[in-house]
């Protein structure tokens, strides 16, 4: 595997292999000294044109756990503010001699463009509303560690702002590839304009389907991307689509709740639910490091059998 740009590039066997790898790295992250020399001498740069806490920290932690060197670039503190173009920025980074570039950018396709410009490997850490493949890998890993390797027939319901969500786009594809049955629920204004090609069903009424699903995957209400036309009021959203304590009580006892973070407590998820026993939120973050170690290793270490 040279790059990881979209989850659609990976077939089921590739995902299985990546998840098996991730299991090895989960063991590493749980050690007293959670560091291995696997990528000694490699340099990984995180190139972020959007704000991020967990994804960036997760990638940097993953790279450091593999003994790679890391460099970090934020648009807000760089020459981008002086007007430097993406191409020039990337060429500058390339000239310093890096092996992998982890890119987050508000424009869909940015990582793809970068991959065409450089010799280094490129990992898409989120491009606009398009893709966030490593999030999908860590979500599969988290589910697999709870449900065993077979995700066939697992019923997963995504709730919220599907239209703006790269997490949903990657996650739905990845889950469908693994054989899960995916459905969507959310305000019609926040669903994608067309669901053509999406391997999903749309749930008309959230409360009817809640008792039937195995996993509820909540998406963040992206207040920075929403205008009043799309979402008149947060309180109305919570009333209709928020996973409140009352709604959570309708779930099967073993239904799992996931959220990619950062959470809007009290909007899409009640604090009691977020911190409750069904919530996998902190596990997702923990598994994120192992999943990204697997991705970096597949790209920089193995000599490449995946994809």
């Amino acid at each position: 595997m040279k790059h990881l740009l979209s989850i659609a590039d990976l077939e089921r066997a590739d995902l299985d292999e990546l998840l098996d790898l991730s299991d090895s790295f989960v063991e590493v992250t749980q050690r007293e000294i959670p560091k291995i020399p696997a990528l000694r001498g490699k340099t990984v740069v995180t190139l972020f044109f959007e704000d991020s806490t967990r994804t960036r920290l997760s990638f940097e932690t993953a790279a450091k756990r593999l003994s790679a060197d890391t460099m970090s670039f934020s648009a807000s503190t760089s020459s981008v503010r002086k007007g430097e173009s993406l191409l020039d920025t990337v060429q500058t980074i390339q000239a310093m001699g890096v092996d992998a570039i982890v890119v987050r950018h508000p424009c869909a396709g940015a990582a793809h463009r970068v991959a065409g410009w450089v010799d280094a490997s490129v990992v898409n850490a989120g491009d606009g509303r398009h893709q966030h493949p490593t999030q999908a890998v860590l979500d599969l890993l988290t589910l697999r560690r709870h449900r065993g390797t077979g995700l066939d027939g697992l019923r997963v319901l995504f709730v919220g702002d599907i239209g703006h969500s790269r997490v949903a786009r990657s996650g739905v594809q990845a889950l469908a590839t693994m054989g899960a049955e995916v459905s969507l629920a959310g305000p019609p204004t926040l669903l994608p304009e067309s669901l053509e090609g999406w391997p999903v069903t749309v749930a008309e009424d959230l409360d009817t389907v809640l008792p039937e699903v195995d996993v509820v995957y909540l998406l963040r209400i992206q207040r920075e991307r929403l205008g009043a036309a799309l979402l008149p009021s947060l309180r109305e959203y919570t009333t209709r689509y928020g996973i409140t304590v009352e709604r959570a009580a309708r779930l099967k006892p073993d239904t799992l709740i996931m959220h990619p973070g950062p959470m809007n407590r009290g909007i899409e998820i009640a604090a009691e639910v977020a911190d409750g026993p069904a919530s996998l939120v902190t596990e997702q973050v923990a598994n994120g490091v192992a999943a990204r170690m697997a991705v970096l290793w597949s790209i920089l270490g193995s000599g490449g059998r995946i994809a």
Binding site: S24, E27, A38, G301, S302, G303
Partner: protein, 211 residues
């Protein structure tokens, strides 16, 4: 080096699926030369090694058997069963993956073969690294590095079913099932029931047309 090195696929279209078995410098088609061990001989060999481990360490109380993926883990379990049978001591068995510690990462495909699982604290214990074939010694070197990060054993010993020579590092085995002179171009192929689903045996394969 052991079977593990060979498990890294050199050629995904190889008749054996391209994974596993020992490859030295072997290229091109190989034919079977000789069977070195059949199932009975292998069982006797396991039993003897198990006895030697107990004898050398004056019992098995502080011994931890750590198998190297994939066949080393199976061998380690067999040794532990044997020790339990005649000594009445349950020896902890671990599994170690050395992929991340190899010195040829980037030179060829190196894939982890499974999660490292060591059930006990190895600090102060005698760790016996168990593998099927000892070849260049590079796998054992990687295993020593991997162990260091898991704790500080009182001693580390090495047990292998076959020592085929051609060491590239100053490493030797403490317990050997059979010393087997080989050519670099030959393969030593180990088959274990619990891993390969076929009868136990060890064979030498070599390039066609040579003796």
């Amino acid at each position: 080096m052991s079977a593990r090195d060979a498990m890294q696929p050199k050629d995904a279209t190889a008749p054996d699926g391209g994974r596993f078995f020992v490859s030295g410098g072997a290229t091109g088609p190989l034919t079977r030369r000789a069977q070195v061990f059949d199932a009975d001989a292998l069982r006797r060999s396991h039993t003897r090694i198990a006895h030697e481990i107990v004898e050398r360490n004056h019992g098995a109380d502080d011994v931890v058997l750590v198998g190297l993926y994939t066949r080393g883990v199976a061998v380690a379990h067999r040794l532990a069963e044997a020790i339990e049978r005649f000594e009445g001591v349950t020896v902890p068995v671990g599994a170690l993956d050395v992929a991340f510690y190899r010195d040829d990462i980037g030179l060829r495909p190196v894939q982890p073969l499974g999660p490292t699982e060591i059930p006990v604290d190895i600090g102060g214990q005698v760790v016996v690294l168990v593998d099927d074939v000892l070849f260049t010694g590079r796998t054992i070197r990687a295993a020593l590095d991997a162990l260091t990060e898991l704790g500080r054993p009182r001693a580390v010993q090495v047990a292998v079913l076959v020592d085929r020579g051609h060491r590239e590092l100053p490493i030797r085995a403490d317990f050997v099932g059979k010393n087997l002179p080989t050519k670099v171009a030959e393969d030593v192929r180990v088959q274990l029931a619990e891993v390969d689903g076929a009868e136990d045996g060890i064979e030498i394969w070599g390039p066609e047309g040579t003796a």
